[in-house]
Amino acid sequence: MKTADAKKQRTLSAETWRRFKKNKLALSGMIVLLALVLIALSTIVIDLVTDNAIYNNKVIKQNLRLRLQGPSKDHIFGLDEFGRDIFMRMIWAVRYSLFMGTIAIALSTIVGVILGSIAGYYGKVTDNIIMRFMDVLLAIPSMLLATAIVAALGTSLTNVLIAIAISYVPTFARTVRASVLTIKDQEFIEAARAIGASDLRIIFKYILPNSMAPLIVQATLGVAGAILSIAGLSFLGLGIQPPTPEWGSMLSSARSYIREGWHITVIPGLGIMITILALNVMGDGLRDALDPRLKN
């Protein structure tokens, strides 16, 4: 006797993943991103293992005789104004943009989640104070805020991270607060309180898991924005300093040598664009997968 197949008990994340997979564009975005993460990680490993040998010899070593050469068999992306191999620099630059963007957003998310859940859960005066503060931060365009912070505190990696993290806090705080407000009046929260659960436990165990969906989408798109901001700051000379390879600063030097060859201008920008494109399609795909009702 053949037993009928029981309907597969799909968890929420499995269902979301299934929907996400159907979106070919989003899926390819994710694959590109994974490839970039792999590249970044391998450069870190290589540096550790070779004790920065490759970094010193291939990425930052100058070779002024051959400067500004276009793409060739030996150097598929050509050489920059200091004779450095652009391909190698591109590969080594991945980790700065990617990881810095991610860390900045991770910091931002943590602070935003804390502020947003406190504001949403406790309401009234606390909510008011926190949200006014968020309004103030939002009133300053993020690039300006980041610039001001970097201008004041200097152009170190940490400062750039802090600057960008701060500018994204209001977005996350608002998102979490909105979720919290929706959920906190539902009956299962009352039930939890009735059995004596503490506020902290309620927030962490019941409210936050239900707020994850919009947060994840915002975070993905936030990383894209953060990478753009980092590149922009570096372009202005306010972010990552040479000779460290970073796409924005590579474009900055391209400014002076724009006539000498298209490769210095086009290639680093392409790197930024592909990364951000991948993050954006992935973020869009996540948004559609997490709530298919929103999809047109």
Binding site: V136, A139, I140, P141, G232, I258, R259
Partner: protein
Amino acid sequence: MMIPVLLGVTFIVFFIMSLTPGDPAAIILGDQASAESLAQKRIELGLDKPLLVRYASYMGNLFRGDLGLSYRNQLSVAEQVWDKFPNTAILAIAGILVALLIGIPVGILSAKKQYTFMDNSSMVLSLIGVSMPNFWLGLLLSLLFALKLGWLPSQGMGSGFFGLLRSLVLPALTLGTGVAATVVRMTRSSMLEVIRQDYISTARAKGITEKQVTNKHMLKNALIPIVTAVGLQFGHLLGGAMLTETIFSWPGLGRLMVDSITSKDIPMVLGAVIFMAVMFSFVNLLVDILYAFLDPRIKSQYKGKKAAAKKEVFA
């Protein structure tokens, strides 16, 4: 409601800039200055007083239109900011115009012809537009149209009507493209929402032309969320202006700010950032007013609040 936010903004920026290490007196007087003159300069600048006092006197001056003196050239910050601001305003307006004139029609068409080739290609293009760093676009445009083809100038702000217009094209396109891409997506999704509404069926059942349906029924409703979004985009525009003005050597506030940062000219940076933040807040206020104007449901809320407030005052 806006005033406390602006006060908060000024305080935060002031606070951030006050954290700058280094000695402003040394920047102004140079390294060779004697210790006494440095000390005297510091007192002159009020640097010996606590933060809040300095903030209060800064704000006091601000209301009188005095933003202090630039460390670099000892000239009035307010004057320089005011001098450069119109150029940035021209660029920003041009950018927004580009964004709206391209973005809204494309968005409308994409929504009406959903899933066709036109829709799909505009979605792809707007995705690329949103993902492209605007300073890269500026460089590419500069490379192609100014350097290779020589059609348009790559630097500076032209004089005379046509000179201005010619020099405005590339920077405006650079600044506006990213916003345009966002506008396309927003317009499309807003229109799609509106198209499926029942009142559109009612409108069609009246026997009016499709054009009338689009303009009087679809657009009027779809524009409301778009207007709000564009207002927020203005902030990105101001940030992007820094980059665009740098690439095209456009003599605006953005470039002034970048130069001031590299030379550690704190009062100038402070003045420029505050000015831009205030401009942003005003634009958002305008958007709120426009929003109430467009949507009678919000207008009613405002009227209701005003009436309630009046009652309280006169009760």
